[in-house]
Symmetry: C2
Subunit: 352 residues, 2 copies
């Protein structure tokens, strides 16, 4: 198979972790006789430095021409804490989501038995956790009208949702639930927000098309609690953009395996795969960043975007082997020897 | 001293836990020679049943005439999962907040050494946690314009904040920080929302008036993570209404002492004190609800609204004694004997 993949390494540790995923995919390509065509493009702070734009048109062209996008991370401290900065790396992210129509962010949270003691939660609370949050990614308050009034002394943001946007996201949720435990949780704030009432109404209407799926409706504040108390009581959750931002991040730390969690953003034109961790600028260039989340994101990409199940499984297997054999970076090595980012990538590629 | 207190017991376990707080306060009044004048009024589902209104004008009059309001909990399952219900108990809550001008919800999260093992978090993560979240309670997306368009197929909600609203809340935060560790965390989503940028700008402008306070600015998604990872790294946090809803609930479960957490809502006309737990309808009428959060809310009321420090401390002391002696309801009794709601209240009153 010929795979055309856009490579957006981004900022901070992005380039280092992406490099390891490329090594691993290239090893897969050799073993399973595929041809991967990688096309790199700039995004984030490095793109601003280059051309003043965090998501340049040239990068968008590269993404559109690709079968899938593998993304690192973006963000740089020089843009933080400056509410008045004109261009910020995050704007590139939002522009990319919108222009590529990346409407559904798929964020699994699961545990690795060998890492369970890294969790801030007690073992009995976190054991068996295997949930997926589907976050709507191109609507809501992120993309509504916003501005100032009264000489800048009043600010407003608008959260808007259409029935079609909700259906598109919920459909993925129902379908995913059908392949798993057939339980779906719709997260909203329907006791306050009109947009949440439209979410609830729309999902309730869709229930008849999926008679086997049991749907629960929970308020976002209640979910924020239950994610900490009984994360293993959830399976598939669907929610709007801002709630998803908060809940996916909360969910990411409970497993203790944040450095290993992959994610996908399903799009109208193409789909994008990225680790959930950030650009971690303090670690950049030090060969200490954990590449496993990016490597597992590449596995997700091979499976989802190309249907290459055996190849994806082979990557997951070698990752499990690296964990079992202690071929890991310092965040996971505990009292044992820590390997560098590159050394972990080399080991994974060699063991494919 | 003469204390005029409005008593809003509400729904579910509300009346039972409120009754215990009344017993304890009455015992305090005897011992410290105060005269408490309790005036009861309906709110929530019971008020809807009575007159079709969850926060009737007559109840509002009672609150306005009082020096402080002691509140139980509201909500009833018959109103849940019905996005189209015309009147809901929660609307009473929002109306009450708005009409009483309850602009600041003060929600502490702390630990009781004897209860620390109830926390879903590991001991080393939760030990020493003592934080307070100040949630703005009468603005933002809760009270902005909302509605439908396109034959009901598009829904919108508006989040609006004025500089004055932010200053009012932030002032409390700075003042509270001055009485504690002098660290303040402003929680927003300034990388996306204009209203958050106004929050950040406004708080940054206020920093010069509190040169001793160190202010950190964090994004709501990052705070949702850190609350689970290192709750004891926080002291005072300030945030807008919706973020506060989610984060205070998340924070409430990490201590393992949810059934003990009090809260205050500071108002323009009067202030309101309530346990943070809900109306827990499944437990209503069974004499099993834990009254300690309500009793501790009464302590907070005596301290904040009436300046009765010794009296508040006396209540906290007897609560600690009940925990130490195991005079507790079934949620805290573990393998030991569980006491009923009433028995706990009687014991506390007797031991004042
Ligand atoms: C950087 C920021 C705009 C972004 C978001 O809020 O969506 C990030 O937090 C994320 O979750 O990908
Ligand atoms: C019941 C609901 C409207 C309310 C809120 O969202 O404010 C509740 O969750 C709370 O936190 O007091």
């Amino acid at each position: 198979m010929k795979l055309n993949i856009a490579l957006l390494a981004g900022d901070g540790i992005g380039p280092e972790v992406i490099a390891q995923a490329v090594k691993v995919c290239d090893a897969i390509a050799v073993k399973y006789k595929h041809e991967i065509n990688w096309t790199s493009a700039l995004t984030g702070a490095c793109a601003i430095d280059d051309c003043g734009e965090p998501y340049p048109d040239s990068t968008h062209e590269v993404c559109l021409a690709a079968d899938a996008v593998l993304f690192g991370a973006i963000g740089h401290p020089k843009y933080d804490n400056d509410p008045k900065a004109k261009v910020r790396p995050e704007q590139g992210l939002l522009k990319m989501r919108q222009k590529l129509g990346l409407f559904a962010n798929v964020r699994p949270t699961f545990t690795f038995p060998s890492l369970i003691d890294n969790s801030p939660l007690k073992r009995e609370r976190i054991e068996g956790t295997d949930l997926i949050i589907l976050r709507e990614l191109t609507g809501g308050i992120y993309f509504g009208e916003r501005g100032r009034k009264d000489d800048g002394n009043t600010a407003f943001d608008t959260c808007t949702y259409t029935r079609a946007e909700i259906q598109r996201l919920a459909k993925l949720g129902f379908e995913l639930a059908m392949t798993r435990s057939k339980r779906l949780c719709c997260v909203d704030k329907a006791n306050v927000l009109e947009s949440s009432r439209l979410w609830r109404e729309t999902v309730q209407d869709m229930e008849k098309d999926y008679p086997e799926v049991t749907v629960a409706y929970e308020f976002v504040d209640a979910v924020a609690m239950r994610l900490v108390q009984w994360p293993n009581s959830y399976d598939v959750l669907i929610t709007e953009n801002l709630f998803g931002d908060i809940l996916t991040d909360e969910a990411s730390v409970i497993s203790g395996s944040m450095g290993l969690m992959p994610s996908a953003s399903k799009g109208l034109h193409t789909s994008l795969y990225e680790p959930i961790h950030g650009s971690y600028p303090q670690a950049a260039g030090k060969d200490i960043a954990n590449p496993l989340a990016t490597v597992l994101s590449a596995a997700m990409m091979l499976e989802d975007a190309f249907g290459l199940q055996a190849e994806a499984d082979a990557i997951r297997e070698v990752v499990n082997k690296s964990l079992a054999d202690g071929i890991v970076t310092e965040d996971l090595s505990g009292k044992n020897k820590a390997y560098g980012t590159n050394a972990v990538g080399d080991w994974l590629a060699k063991n494919i």
